[in-house]
């Protein structure tokens, strides 16, 4: 069990269960992503086995589980990044608003513009300024109007809660920022493409508790506009930020449900063992 953010979890202990309180209103909500029988392989090794679940629109879904349980592989299947790894293979269907991302003729490049991703370690492009980093993906839309691009940079940085800190340094290299700022820059970069879904693969694991708290706050704000799937090692974080939680173990989905229920009254004993710290 990860303890790195334990202090901040205690500090915010009072609001730990805030997110699930809203989950009751999700009954009428509609699913943005529907995953049916998804399996993922590296060569002959199966990393994800036959997972089915629905990701609700404009909600935060957390994926938790011990290291090597297939969490990261699973979300990399949701924007077709898994197949970038040599020897990787995916089976099953992932429906985004009813359309199969793995259907014949679907271009993975288009999929990734609708389903954005933020990685574990902040990875701004080292040869680009903050400004260019933000619009690296957006510029592909073909707009050359400087005002449109300027506007997009400001809008995205504001959404990522970074604007105030960098508005006077937009032409400095993206790598000159601190780790937490770099991660928010990466979030701004992903948001600039206007994705419908934002995948976050342990976005805080390389950050200190203060930067982590900022990103978590940001997640709360972002779910007004995008659907978020977050992989995390940190169960306090899952409890704090998510509406739904999926527990993965050994490549299988053990339990999926409203976060408050998973953390207070799980159905499977494996889930209970994991969240009470008996293994993992």
């Amino acid at each position: 069990m990860s303890n790195e953010n334990y202090a901040s979890a205690e500090k915010r202990g009072g609001e730990e269960l805030r997110a699930p309180a809203r989950a009751s209103e999700t009954a009428s909500n509609k699913a943005r992503l529907e995953i049916h029988g998804l399996s993922a392989y590296y060569g002959k090794t199966r990393a994800v086995s036959n997972v089915s679940l629905s990701i609700q629109t404009k909600r935060v879904t957390a994926i938790i589980g011990p290291s090597g349980c297939g969490k990261s592989t699973f979300i990399r299947c949701l924007n077709r990044m898994h197949e970038v790894t040599p020897g990787a293979l995916v089976e099953g269907r992932v429906l985004l608003d009813g359309e199969d991302l793995y259907g014949p003729g679907v271009d993975p490049v288009e999929v990734r513009r609708k389903v954005g991703m933020v990685f574990q370690k902040p990875n701004p492009f080292p040869t680009m300024s903050i400004y260019d980093n933000v619009v690296a993906g957006f510029k592909l839309n073909g707009s050359r109007d400087r005002r449109v691009i300027d506007g997009k940079v400001e809008e995205s940085l504001k959404m990522a809660a970074l604007w105030e800190e960098v508005k006077d340094a937009l032409y400095k290299p993206g790598t000159s920022l601190s780790g937490g700022q770099q991660q928010r820059l990466c979030i701004a970069r992903a948001l600039a493409v206007d994705p419908e879904v934002l995948l976050m693969d342990e976005p805080c694991s390389a950050l200190d508790p203060i930067a982590t708290a900022k990103i978590e706050e940001l997640i709360h704000e972002l779910k007004e506009t995008v659907t978020i799937v977050i992989v995390t090692h940190n169960m306090q974080q899952a409890a704090r930020v998510s509406d739904y939680t999926a527990f993965f173990y050994m490549g299988e989905l053990v339990e999926f449900g409203v976060t408050s229920k998973i953390f207070t009254n799980p159905e499977k004993h494996q889930t209970e063992d994991y969240i009470t710290g008996r293994f993992g």
Partner: protein, 293 residues
């Protein structure tokens, strides 16, 4: 041995084992120093020798005048300097895109055994003697076109440069972190744009170093010019005709019978050496400047 709780051997400075360790260290140290010394000695000797024999004959006339008929005094190597620059520049124009393009292929499609095979071929190609490369360019360009030419020389130089560029570019691409590629792909940037926008800029310093290395190597090669550029005592800016190049001129002058030619061969060597040194120092300074940005 008594049961002493504190092991003494490691702190004891006069023990036999300590002396033995110390002497091995001394021998190894002196040995490595000798190896380094020999390497540096030869480099400095070559530099000093060329400087001693060549520098005195290098003046403005030497750099700007045409060669004079044997026996007359004065004259220079201006035509060979310009010829070398033209032939190597054209060779670089051919070799840089081909070498880098092939490196991109080798790096981006490793799954297909073809990529690894191409890389293997490039390694073999760096070992092919340059005289053989010259013969190949002769068969490929000189024979069909019916005359020796700067173009044929460029083709020969390009063959020497391509594998050097390919291998150095491939190594540069391999050092680009996977996370940066993935960051770009995850934004919905197509693979070819990811290569152009992310992989190439990130590795640009190493790519430039590879190109400079290849150019320096080609600049000094005389053998591939023997049956291609052929040499020319007159001004020629036409790459379809025989053209003078510095290394070939050095070869001709150094093996000729005249004292004046020998002097000029030394002077030309000096010019060539200085040019290569200055180029690599400038490149380093430029790259360091870029790194500080």
């Amino acid at each position: 041995m008594t049961s002493d709780p504190m092991p003494q051997i490691s702190t004891h400075r006069s023990g036999l084992r300590y002396l033995r360790r110390k002497s091995i260290e001394w021998v190894a140290c002196v040995g490595m120093l000798l190896c380094t010394g020999v390497t540096v000695f030869f480099l400095l000797t070559i530099l000093g020798y060329v400087l001693y024999h060549g520098a005195a004959s290098v003046d403005w006339e030497f750099l700007t005048a045409l060669p004079v008929p044997a026996g007359e005094s004065g004259g220079g190597i201006a035509n060979a300097l310009v010829g070398s620059a033209m032939v190597v520049a054209l060779a670089a124009l051919m070799a840089v895109p081909i070498g880098m393009g092939a490196a991109v292929f080798v790096n981006e499609f490793p799954g297909a055994g073809l990529g690894r095979f191409v890389r293997f071929l490039a390694e073999v190609l760096t070992g092919v003697p340059s005289i053989v490369v010259g013969l190949f360019a002769y068969a490929l360009v000189v024979r069909p076109l019916g005359s020796f030419s700067g173009l044929a020389g460029s083709v020969a130089y390009a063959f020497i440069m391509i594998p050097i560029i390919l291998i150095s570019a491939h190594e540069a691409f391999r050092l680009v972190p996977v996370s940066l590629r993935e960051a770009s792909l995850a934004l919905g940037v197509p693979k070819w744009r990811t290569i152009l926008w992310v992989v190439l800029p990130v590795s640009s310093r190493a790519l430039l170093t590879g190109v400079v290395l290849a150019v320096s190597r080609a600049l000094g090669e005389a053998a591939p010019m023997l049956f291609t550029a052929f040499g020319n005592p007159f001004w020629n800016l036409n790459l379809r005709k025989p053209i003078a190049t510095v290394p070939l001129l050095i070869y001709t002058y150094a093996t000729g019978p005249y004292e004046d030619w020998h002097r000029k061969a030394w002077a030309a060597s000096f010019v060539l050496l200085v040019f290569v040194l200055v180029t690599s120092v400038l490149t380093r300074a430029f790259l360091r400047g870029k790194a500080d940005e």
